[in-house]
């Protein structure tokens, strides 16, 4: 796929489709895929690894909207009401990874050590802001929940998401970048 020559803020038809498909992926992974985590009765949120990858490919606007739409649809279908505080946090996460991770140069089919470092700095900052700042502050503002509860919840979520994104997101980026082979170096061997 040709992702070159795209400015960070440009929204063309491909970006729109990426938002739609990305949100569908986010939804399916977040709603139907339950991978057990070490903490009993909780599951790993693998959807943030994919969101980070998509945001790094398609930029902050796509990242923001994939998080917003994907998370909104999960809440809508799950029946637990719409938790705007966490929906918005997902959107902020996608936005920040798209903004800070743009130097990942995934679109160029290059992803080396530098790209991996950039990607992970972006995702750590984005997760921290989303779950330790945005989500708890909104929880306090909207639901007047106890501060210590929401900040602890947020911190736990942030750590778990950072770890899963670091593994899943980074591995996906490496694998994707390898898809553009340098054919000149390939030789048949006997």
């Amino acid at each position: 796929m040709n992702l070159k020559n795209k400015s960070l803020w440009k929204v063309d038809v491909k970006t729109i489709v990426a938002i739609g498909i990305g949100a569908a992926l986010f939804f399916v992974l977040g709603r139907f895929v339950a991978i057990p985590s070490p903490v009993p009765n909780t599951t790993i949120n693998i959807q943030y690894g994919v969101l980070a990858f998509m945001a790094a490919c398609f930029g902050p606007i796509a990242g923001c909207l994939i998080g917003l739409i994907g998370h909104f649809l999960i809440d809508l279908s799950a029946g637990w009401g719409i938790w705007w505080s966490w929906v918005i946090a997902s959107a902020v996460f996608g936005f920040l990874v798209g903004l800070l991770g743009n130097r990942t140069r995934l679109a160029w089919g290059q992803f080396g050590k530098k790209g991996a470092i950039n990607f992970n700095i972006a995702q750590v900052i984005a997760h921290a802001v989303a779950w330790i700042v945005i989500a708890p502050v909104l929880d306090i503002l909207i639901y007047s929940e106890p501060a210590n509860k929401v900040f602890l919840q947020g911190a736990v979520a942030a750590v778990a998401n950072i770890i899963t994104t670091a593994i899943i997101g980074t591995l996906l980026c490496f694998a994707w970048a390898k898809l553009v082979p340098d054919k000149s170096s390939l030789k048949k061997e006997d």
């Binding site: 040709n2 694998a175 390898k178 898809l179 553009v180 082979p181 054919k183 390939l186 048949k188 061997e189 006997d190």
Partner: protein, 570 residues
């Protein structure tokens, strides 16, 4: 008839940005209003690129350098916008799931109108009209996954003709359709052509199937150039199809084998109309008498048995109703039937992906129902249709060795098995390549190799040659045959009647969750009642044999297949 051409290529060439060599060279082609043209060519010949140039995806979505001139109604396309072009050229894409972007049939048909800001009331009217034209008026509120492949294609077509386009472009309309649906699709395209009088361009490599209804011209593309642009009757008399690695209609090949000189005045375009004089009939008859029947392979011992299998999905849909079925060691067989007839569900049951509610499955006499998916896969491997859905490692070695690695085998052991498997699959020279550098056919081999590394006794393949041209098809099938000779039992799920005729001594026909018939493909395809009941398509070889007054048309089909194989193996 001599009007201005609606599409005119003049010395047109195109090179993609990402490639060094041009894909199209010196294309000269005119399409006149109301014409119907078939563009054929092997994979990689440039025929899809040609289609992209016509519908405007080149230069607006795929970038590259164009030379020469391409005019639409006298206007250079590079000076137009994609929207302007799509007002003139309507495209029905090969992948009807990708083209179906609406949530329901009605919304999808209305898609172009919505984008053109057509008022709501007018939209309802035009959607109803287009739906009626293509024959889907009763499913307007259905979601895409409630439709069959043929219906989805009709919806795509409705969504395109709703705009009164001057040119209708069909990109491989027969891919993914079962034989009788494919036949209906060609009839539908023909009807629409008559009704709208738009110029119709069909890109397809299955020539015999397209020629089920008349076309005005066949344009053959090979290596980026147009090598022939002639009426079908003339193309069929030449060797151009064979030379480009395309498959001639089978009855034409049969006539050629029999030594019949085919000339345009015999009207060879349709098997029903071809003029066969007494001399030609005698030649065919002589050929039949003088061609020895091939030996039928002896059946091995029973290997796998399924008895009285029943299965319903969670939603209550009863997909498999009391099916019993036996596989012999070393066999190569096909499972055929319409979409939804139960053939995929049945193979999933065999592999343990789903669990039957009733019935037993025995492998070498042992009940396999207690085995896990993984344990069963060590005996029965499953190869999905789309290799991209199966390949999860970037390097060939890693992909082929994945199951062994997860099994925790020692490194040397893994290397040994992977090397052996790669040699069997003809991939050894590429062992250190990334998967992405391979062609589709090679990727298919990688997926087969990744299953073979677990050393299963039976391999089930879903549509092993889908979307492949004749050369790649032959390559993949010869590879499977080679594996079979080495002792692997092979079951193929397919819509491809040629594949079944040529490569499987036995086929099982599914309809409506049951086995309708279990026989040789030649017998199945020469039985008109069966053909109708299972939505198959009669082979033109049978019609030819009947028209030549042969005593045993079934034998003729079998002998042709055997003979053809021998010729091609040389």
């Amino acid at each position: 008839m001599k009007k201005e051409p609606v599409i005119q290529f003049e010395h047109f060439g195109f090179k993609y940005d990402a490639q060094i060599e041009p894909t199209l060279y010196d294309i000269n082609l005119s399409v006149y209003p109301g014409e119907k043209i078939l563009i054929a060519g092997p994979s990689g010949s440039g025929k899809s690129t040609l289609a992209h140039c016509i519908n405007g995806l080149i230069p607006f979505s795929y970038y590259g350098d164009a030379t020469g001139s391409l005019r639409l109604n006298g206007k250079e396309t590079r000076d137009m916008s994609l929207f302007e072009i799509s007002k003139t050229v309507g495209t029905v894409l090969q992948d009807s799931d990708a083209q179906f972007v609406g949530l329901t049939v009605a919304e999808d048909i209305a898609f172009a109108l919505e984008n053109d800001c057509v008022p709501h009331s007018e939209m309802l009217e035009r959607v109803a009209e287009a739906a009626a034209t293509v024959g889907v008026p009763s499913v307007l509120s259905h979601a895409p996954h409630e439709l069959s492949g043929g219906q989805k294609q009709r919806v795509s077509l409705a969504g395109v003709i709703i705009n009164d386009v001057q040119v209708l472009l069909f990109d491989e309309p027969l891919a993914n359709l079962d034989p009788s649906t494919g036949k209906t699709a060609i009839e539908l395209i023909d009807d629409i052509h008559r009704q709208t009088n738009a110029a119709v361009i069909i890109i397809e490599h299955r020539i015999e199937d397209v020629l089920h209804r008349d076309v005005d011209r066949i344009v053959i593309v090979n290596d980026g150039r147009i090598v022939a642009d002639l009426p079908p009757n003339e193309i069929l008399c030449s060797d151009v199809l064979k030379n480009c690695g395309l498959r001639e209609p089978l009855y034409i090949t049969a006539l050629k084998y029999a030594g019949v000189q085919i000339t345009p005045d015999m009207l060879p375009q349709h098997i029903e109309d071809i003029v066969l004089n007494e001399n030609a009939k005698a030649l065919v008859s002589d050929w039949f008498e003088n061609t020895p029947p091939a030996e039928q392979p002896a059946k091995g011992p029973v290997m796998f048995q399924a008895e009285h299998i029943r299965f319903s999905y969670a939603n209550g849909h009863e997909a498999i109703r009391d099916v019993s079925f036996t596989v012999h060691r070393g066999e190569i067989m096909c499972i055929i039937g319409q979409n939804g007839a139960g053939k995929s569900t049945f193979s999933k049951l065999i592999c343990g992906f789903e669990t039957p509610q009733e019935g037993t499955m025995l492998l070498e006499g042992t009940d396999i129902s207690p085995l896990s998916i993984k344990e069963r896969a060590e005996h029965i491997g499953y190869v999905m249709q789309d290799p991209n859905q199966m390949i999860s490692k970037t390097m060939i070695r890693e992909e082929v060795g994945l199951a062994l690695e997860l099994d925790g085998l020692p490194r040397e052991e893994i290397d040994r098995i992977v090397n052996d498997t790669l040699k069997v699959c003809g991939l050894y020279p590429f062992r250190n390549w990334p998967v992405s550098a391979l062609s589709f056919g090679q990727k298919k081999r990688v997926t087969v190799a990744s299953i073979l590394s677990m050393n299963p006794e039976i391999v089930i393949l879903d549509e092993p040659t889908a979307g492949q041209d004749f050369r790649h098809y032959t390559e993949i099938m010869e590879f499977l045959l080679e594996l079979n000779r080495k002792g692997v039992t092979i079951i193929m799920i397919t819509h491809d009647m040629h594949l079944m005729l040529e490569y499987a001594p036995r086929a099982v026909v599914f309809t409506d969750g049951k086995i309708l018939c279990d026989d040789t493909p030649a017998n199945i395809l020469t039985n008109p009642e069966l053909v109708k009941a299972a939505s198959l398509k009669e082979t033109s070889l049978f019609t030819l044999a009947v028209r030549c007054g042969l005593s045993d048309p079934r034998q003729f089909v079998q002998r042709f297949i055997d003979y053809d194989r021998r010729v091609r193996e040389k």
